[in-house]
Amino acid sequence: MSNLTFGLTLLLVGMGGTLLTLWLLTLLIRGLTALLPPPKPGPDTKNP
């Protein structure tokens, strides 16, 4: 395999794969935070 083919393969598959995987992760994080939301603050107990 020539250096040019090797470099372009890594650029396309490597950078493309990194972008795609991280984009997939953002979707999964969105899913996670929607599925497991932070608890809502309880009613203010100081006021009657």
């Binding site: 090797f6 890594l10 950078m15 794969g17 991280l22 996670l32 497991l36």
Partner: protein, 385 residues
């Protein structure tokens, strides 16, 4: 009697007689590293042991890197088998707070753009005539992450595809440039953005994430890495193990040990052993200079990639994204995020970019390890490792 005295004196003189020009240059390089670590505070935790290892292995007739020598033993024990970088990764994971990223997950994309330097440097190194494996090893400096550089380059050294001395040069270049991020990045950030863009005020991030989501996150990332890029699982797995221990809160002793004792011991041994590989006959070569030049190029392109994505985001969001945040999409944590905050406030005193930049910065940590993991898996697919 006189013969015995002369023979004894000859033994004492052997060291000074064996001192050559190359060793003197390497001792001077160790001196420069001592100066940077002590006087300039440039990554002292790693640069100081590297410099001492370099000094020890370049003194005349030094046998510390020979079979059975203490530095060689450290090398074989923890670098030859990748153990020390991975132990440091556990510590990094236990020190990292992914809350800002989980609160605003789209910032993870900056962590991808911040890896552009890896692939651009790979192409440049190949064009300069580096063999494929050496080019990949040099390109990993663009991950802006010392342990990743050591892990990948040592993998190739172990396979006999690159020189062991190159691991030392790559480690020193990676850690030096990581420390120089506050000097390298601001001119690029200013060059690529307008004053109006730099002054964009970002709304405060809610920063609220449930504990359950924080606990699930490292498990999800580990599984995804294992499926997409199994060759990089040791790297990501160890980062996520450290983070998992931190967020569960149920193994605080292990967590504290990971970020203190274990990481410190691994850093000391790793630095000494890496410094030990920097022997004159292998280190003083044109390739070493090229490694340093390419390393600088990699960090510059990382920053360019991040800021350009920030500019694109600025346009697509109707001016709501401050493009400076893109510069934080590298692995130098939390230095790059703090730099974005300082730079943002320089142009708008009301601006608080830190939480957003922290999200991009932790995205950069994941991105750098993911990029290395994916690259290793692609290389395996190509039959190179």
């Amino acid at each position: 009697m006189i013969d015995a005295i002369l023979a004894g004196l000859k033994g004492l003189a052997e060291g000074s007689l064996a001192l050559d020009g190359g060793s003197l240059v390497m001792i001077a390089i160790a001196g420069v590293m001592f100066y940077l670590a002590i006087a300039k505070d440039v990554e002292p935790l790693l640069l100081l042991p590297i410099a001492f290892g370099c000094l020890l292995s370049n003194l005349p007739l030094s046998e510390l890197m020979h079979s059975g020598g203490v530095l060689k033993t450290m090398y074989d024990f923890g670098i030859g088998n990748e153990l020390f970088p991975l132990l440091i990764f556990v510590g990094i994971g236990s020190m990292t707070d992914f809350t800002p990223l989980l609160a605003n997950p789209k910032l993870l994309l900056f962590g991808a753009a911040g890896q552009l330097g890896i692939f651009a440097t790979l192409l440049l190194a190949l064009a300069l005539g580096f063999p494929k494996e050496s080019a990949v090893a040099v390109a990993t400096i663009g991950a802006c992450d010392g342990p990743t550089v050591i892990y990948v380059s040592n993998l190739f050294a172990g396979l006999g595809k690159i020189d062991t001395a190159m691991v030392g040069a790559l480690a020193v270049a990676a850690y030096s440039y990581m420390a120089l991020v506050p000097i390298i990045q601001p001119p690029i950030m200013r060059l690529l953005t307008t004053e109006k863009e730099r002054a964009v005020k970002m709304p405060p991030s809610s920063g609220k994430v449930s504990r359950a989501a924080l606990i699930a996150f490292p498990l999800v990332v580990t599984v995804i890495t294992g499926i997409v890029a199994p060759k990089g699982l040791p790297l990501m797995g160890m980062v996520m193990l450290g983070n998992f221990m931190k967020v569960t809160g149920s193994v605080s002793r292990l967590c504290k040990a990971s970020e203190n004792e274990i990481a410190n011991i691994a850093t000391l041994f790793l630095g000494l052993a890496i410094g030990g590989t920097m022997v004159a006959k292998d280190f003083l070569a044109l390739n070493t200079l090229l490694v340093f030049g390419l390393g600088l190029f990699a960090i510059v392109i990382d920053t360019v990639g991040g800021v350009l994505l920030g500019k694109l985001w600025y346009l697509l969001s109707g001016g709501k994204m401050n493009p400076l945040i893109g510069a934080a999409g590298i692995s130098a944590y939390p230095m790059a995020a703090r730099l974005v905050q300082t730079e943002g406030q320089r142009w708008n005193k009301q601006n608080f970019l830190l939480m957003h930049a922290m999200g991009a910065n932790t995205g950069g940590q994941i991105g750098s390890v993911m990029a290395a993991a994916i690259m290793l898996s692609v290389l395996k697919g190509l039959g190179l490792i």
